[in-house]
Symmetry: C2
Subunit: 249 residues, 2 copies
Amino acid sequence: MSQSVGRALAILPMLAEGPAGLEQVATRLGVHKTTAMRLLRTLHEHGLVYRQDDQRYRLGARLFALAQAAAESLDVREIAHPHLVKLGEVTGHTVHLAVYEDREVMYIDKVDSRYPVRMYSRIGRPVAITVAAVAKLLLADLPEPERRAVAERLEYPMYTPRSTPDAPALLAELAAVREQGWATDFGGHEESINCIGAPIRGADGRTAAACSLSAPNVVVTADELMTLLPQLRRTAAAISDDYSGRVPA
Amino acid sequence: MSQSVGRALAILPMLAEGPAGLEQVATRLGVHKTTAMRLLRTLHEHGLVYRQDDQRYRLGARLFALAQAAAESLDVREIAHPHLVKLGEVTGHTVHLAVYEDREVMYIDKVDSRYPVRMYSRIGRPVAITVAAVAKLLLADLPEPERRAVAERLEYPMYTPRSTPDAPALLAELAAVREQGWATDFGGHEESINCIGAPIRGADGRTAAACSLSAPNVVVTADELMTLLPQLRRTAAAISDDYSGRVPA
DNA sequence: CAGGTTGGTTGCGCAACACGCAACGTGCGT
DNA sequence: ACGCACGTTGCGTGTTGCGCAACCAACCTG
């Protein structure tokens, strides 16, 4: 919409791949050096990019502060966190929390059996949206047109033979997930990792977030993991209660 | 430099304080609604802001991804992390890692005795630059003109009676720190918290980062904490070796 | 050491683009 | 049902961001 702003923002993901010099940025943006410079300067003034000693630019530390603030404004996370920690302690497995936002699914919290961690590991990385249990839960609850639109626009990488192959398969699975109120990913992303997920619902009944329990095959079989499903669902329900209570919207 | 980009970027810290509606953003920016809208749209297209159900805007999840990438491009952190973890395990105290960037000091990693955590707690929050041990170390090694300029522009909040009161006091302490090669903060930020820090130097000998060890009074006295100084300095030296070896620049 | 190359910086004229106005929708509260 | 507050759209104007060209500085290379 706004040309210069758009160009400036396009620089950020570029720099996310690694530091780059002025010329490099200019050519990749398809603009004149001088234009790129003005944009970079403005970004620099606002702390979003930093100029390192060799005059190349990289992402700036201000992003930490913004991401931190963004995390704090996601109140689902605040509310869910203690529940997730407890679930992690009890089961000893990895717990994830994810939300859907603008055709993307993002992990926003993670609890390992021993490490309560934010912004770590997969948090901030793109979720395998076609196979992850949390993704299925979040997509399953989208309004029909958007769900279809998203499903059809996705790519379907075959991480493993059990990965969801295409849009029809995904939509079918989403229907099932919607029906049963929970989701699984048995080796669909990594051969040896199984995963079960449950939805967190807001006061309006819509799925506001999803949490999941993951464990490698070598620790527990898929069947054994499934025995934890009731516990996971109880946790999700507890979070839903807290969440819908506190955010009546 | 670039008006529209500057305005757009100014929106981000605004939203960091909490979600805001279009009108709110417009008035705080001092621009017409329609202008604010165009900027917000562009930010939205790039995932930096998200429009929640009530049509208000908040920071978007894409920021997580960018912050993550920013963190990964800070190779000091990568290199230092294992050392910090070890130090945390051995001493049982909290370890911080910080860098200086554009007149600000940022925590970029933290290790608690039990929790290795990134982007958590104070990471991303402004460092108490006038009192923190790591801040003193980083400021102490700035070139004279910049150091003076920074010191004089700072505010000197008296968190406690032991906080650094003004620029001359800070500059005096920086000189001492520079001399001795380590820094302390005994109750200067929070009455009951003591802290010691040591510099991490790059191949050129400049201080590239600083790490610190913090503990509350009730656990160890300042004197006891000081007995860990040699260990802290060894860790910092080890990181420096790794770092200067790997980044000959 | 001269000459070429690469990458960054500055000044300036032109027109594209971003700005704000005004008018239109829309949902909510009274 | 009405009015108000807030978000949205179309459009003319001139500010502002654009690219050109020329200028530096550093680094190779012969």
